[in-house]
């Protein structure tokens, strides 16, 4: 094979590879790029490996966790235009996790390892006391306390005012309270546990 032919071959290969990339690029342009632009902290399903790289390497993107999820709270970054391949995530503002444990049980690669519902580490809820209705004295609510799947270990009422919610140490960050919160700007956020950050409330 002479030199011209080799160069032609290489050029053809490069051209066909870039042509093959066009559908992907188009779909990235058309898909809403919500995961990368938004600052909201999306959650991994319960039991996910805490190291993000380890999780992405272990997850084969089979979607089984989403297929067993009873409230359909697990969604997929591939579908929602995220940068990662088909990995699962939970947007607590849409649907929180009910900690039923089915996804951990079904995961074939142990990217979601089975843990007790009290030991799940998805994050920890933080309540913005400048927006929450009872905390700014604009009525009584308590929806987050009523709905919490872990009960009084995770969230309770303030000692002084029996309608003001307070997050406790037992909170695993399932996000059901975020889902039910009636305030339109969602005063409850799920923050990363241990990063000791206070979530900034955005309106």
């Amino acid at each position: 094979m002479d030199r011209r032919k080799v160069i032609q071959r290489i050029a053809l290969g490069v051209a066909s590879l870039s042509a093959a990339g066009i559908p992907y690029g188009l779909s990235r342009l058309l898909a809403p790029d919500r995961l990368t632009t938004s600052k909201i902290h999306y959650l991994r399903p319960p039991g996910a490996l805490s190291d993000t790289t380890a999780f992405n390497e272990a997850c084969i993107g089979c979607g089984l966790c989403g297929e067993v999820c009873p409230p359909k709270s697990i969604r997929f970054s591939d579908r929602e235009g995220g940068s990662r391949l088909n990995t699962p995530f939970i947007d607590p503002a849409k649907k929180g996790c009910i900690l039923c444990g089915k996804c951990m049980e079904v995961c074939p690669t142990d990217a979601l390892t089975e843990v007790d519902r009290k030991d799940v580490e998805m994050g920890i809820a933080q309540i913005d006391r400048t927006a929450c209705y009872p905390w700014v004295d604009r009525g009584v609510c308590g929806a987050c306390v009523v709905v919490c799947p872990l009960g009084e270990h995770a969230i309770g009422f303030d000692f002084a005012n029996m309608y003001r919610p307070v997050v406790k140490k037992g909170c695993v960050g399932c996000g059901v309270c975020v889902e039910v919160c009636p305030h339109p700007s969602l005063p409850i956020r799920i923050a990363e546990r241990g990063s000791s950050t206070v979530v900034v409330h955005q309106i």
């Binding site: 093959a20 559908p23 992907y24 188009l26 779909s27 990235r28 898909a31 790289t53 380890a54 992405n56 390497e57 272990a58 997850c59 084969i60 993107g61 089979c62 979607g63 089984l64 989403g66 297929e67 067993v68 999820c69 009873p70 409230p71 359909k72 969604r75 997929f76 591939d78 579908r79 929602e80 235009g81 990662r84 391949l85 088909n86 990995t87 089915k102 079904v106 074939p108 690669t109 142990d110």
Partner: protein, 341 residues
């Protein structure tokens, strides 16, 4: 070897219909499973009275379908989940060998419970070769329909792509994606492997309300098959096909040509989706035992054999014109038992 009385088993000609049945069942299951999941979510939410009329139709039909088999649909239906990439078939966890290879390549660790789920597919592939591609793969179902569409287009005078490329290219794709996996930090093959894409896109479309990014890629491969090469993605690019071809290299069950019964009509070559050469005994590791050539053979000259390796090219078929011309000159009346190549 074969006398006129020992005809091949009569059912072998109909295996191709069985294969279409198998492909259709797998595809229909992939459609059914998301509906069953929707039904489960409606049950879990105790939401029948709040459903839209269309959702009530799903609820009622899935209840009718599953009620004879399960007593507690919310949990019992979990026994039937997932896709061909990784799934649960009546309680038996099964995974694609490519998922295993991709996951090991990405993380560098071997997770034994996951290896166990891939053992049955690997064992079957060692015995039967690349059978997944012809008998199970949900993308194959659509690609073969796409081939049919291509032949219709040719019939009405439109040109479809018939290029031939190097089949070795897909091994390159396999190794490059496996090598890229640790660099990208994810199981990269899942993004370009059509059966995985088809499975999860069907789930997205039915349960999550719309197709995802993968559907665009899959539509691209369909166009590639139409415009560039017939069944081009499977033949030249698919990483899964490359892995199964390597695993099935020494498979036990093979299709072989009985040279005494062959009449050189070359219908087998025309019908072969993978561009192989059954007419000249050219099956090789990429034959997926799909039996399309057996179904089309007018003289039943293609049969299944239990043997670990292909036979070499045995020359023109004894019923064909070329063989008869040569041999009628030599010894007019004696029918050829051994081929005289």
């Amino acid at each position: 070897m074969t006398s006129p009385d020992s005809k091949p088993f009569f059912l072998w000609r109909h295996l191709n219909k069985l294969r279409w049945l198998s492909l259709s069942i797998v595809f229909l299951m992939l459609v059914l499973i998301p509906f069953l999941h929707l039904y489960q979510t409606y049950i879990a939410a105790h939401a029948y009275d709040l459903l839209y009329p269309s959702e009530k139709i799903i609820y009622d039909s899935m209840e009718t379908l599953s009620a004879p088999f399960v007593s507690d649909p919310e949990n019992d239906l979990d026994l039937l989940k997932g896709t061909t990439w990784s799934g649960r078939l009546f309680g038996l966890d099964l995974s694609d060998p490519l998922a295993l290879a991709g996951q090991i390549a990405a993380s560098g660790k071997v997770l034994w419970p996951f290896v166990l789920t891939a053992l049955i597919p690997i064992g079957l592939t060692l015995l039967l070769g690349r059978f997944f591609c012809g008998w199970i793969c949900p993308a194959s179902f659509l690609y073969e329909l796409n081939t049919t569409l291509g032949s219709w287009l040719r019939n009405i005078g439109l040109h479809t792509g018939q290029r031939r490329m190097s089949r070795k290219f897909k091994y390159l794709v396999l190794f490059v994606t496996l090598l890229l996996s640790p660099l990208l930090g994810s199981v990269a093959v899942a993004a370009i492997y059509p059966p995985a894409i088809v499975g999860r896109e069907i789930y997205y479309a039915i349960a999550l309300g719309g197709f995802g990014v993968g559907a665009v890629f899959f539509a691209g491969t369909l166009l590639f098959d139409l415009l560039v090469a017939r069944r081009g993605f499977c033949r030249y690019l698919c990483p899964g096909g490359a892995l199964y071809s390597l695993l099935g290299r020494f498979r036990l069950l093979r299709i072989q040509r009985v040279v005494e019964d062959c009449n050189d009509c070359a219908k087998c070559n025309a019908v072969c989706e993978f561009g192989l050469d059954p007419l000249r005994d050219g099956f090789g590791q990429e034959c997926n035992n799909c039996t399309a050539c057996i179904a089309v053979c007018p003289t039943d000259a293609l049969v299944f054999k239990m043997t670990p390796k292909d036979q070499p090219d045995r020359g023109p078929g004894h019923l064909g014109r070329q063989y008869r011309r040569v041999h009628s000159e030599n010894a007019g009346d004696s029918p050829g038992i051994e081929d005289g190549s």
